[in-house]
Amino acid sequence: MLGKMMIHGLVAAILIGGAAAVYAQASDNGYLSATPVQARSDSGTATQDDNGYLRSTTRDGHRDRDGRKHANRSERHDGRHGSNHGNDHDNDD
């Protein structure tokens, strides 16, 4: 009985994890975003400016994930990687 219930739970975890992975992949690709056309045009510019680096696509990906999460987290994230970098140095000095 206990073993069966644990197996059922694990099977459900695999199914939900699979569905969640599909959802995450779809939201990353822009299929679930409100402006899919813009997402497609962004990827289009990335291919036009393609010079072997992943600069433009990764930046948008970060913004999507953090923007969808909590506001203060995205600010923290931007502070680490974005334009507030100079301000951090000023505070340290």
């Binding site: 219930m5 099977v11 975890a13 939900i16 969640a20 969808r68």
Partner: protein, 171 residues
């Protein structure tokens, strides 16, 4: 015949619901990281939907159905402690506590999408509910399998003691 079939169906639904909420909580807990946020969000909403479905099922199910929510009763607990007969009251206490804790964890997680300050309560409640789940697993394991294991261990220990005792007395 029909009553038995419906009771079996309710038991199956209850098991399916248990698998749903356990699997969704497991995925939500494992993916609680910024890199896997979309998966965490999906699994968290699955947990919330499971809790809502369970509450709705508990309210709508007919009397005597296993889908009915079991209410923990302090008087019944005290009566059980004195008589030690019937269903252990901790089942009902654990069920109510788990529904409340996991439901609150899912609800605060959903709310923290709009209100960032809910993130800390969400993390605290999720951690607390994980310990509650571990306690629930330990309790259920003890109730259904642990008693047998303890009985076997006790019988082996007594057998071992009996085999050692004659040697000690001959010395």
């Amino acid at each position: 015949m029909g009553v038995r079939n419906s009771a079996r169906l309710h038991h199956t639904l209850l098991k399916a619901w248990h698998a749903w909420v356990a699997g969704a909580f497991l995925i939500a807990y494992v993916t609680a990281d910024e890199n896997t946020y979309a998966m965490h969000q999906f699994a968290g909403y699955a947990v919330l939907a499971a809790i809502v479905a369970r509450l709705a099922g508990g309210l709508l199910a007919p009397a005597g159905s296993p889908l009915r929510l079991s209410r923990p009763d302090p008087r019944a607990t005290l009566a059980w402690l004195s008589a030690r007969k019937g269903r252990h009251p901790l089942f009902a206490w654990f069920a109510a506590a788990l529904l409340a804790a996991v439901g609150l964890a899912a609800l605060t997680g959903a709310l923290s999408d709009g209100a960032a300050w809910m993130e800390h309560p969400h993390e605290a409640i999720s951690e607390a509910s994980l310990w509650l789940i571990l306690g629930h697993i330990a309790f259920v394991t003890y109730m259904y399998a642990g008693k047998k294991w303890f009985g076997r261990i006790a019988s082996r220990l007594t057998g071992l003691r009996l085999s050692i005792l004659p040697k000690e007395t001959t010395r």
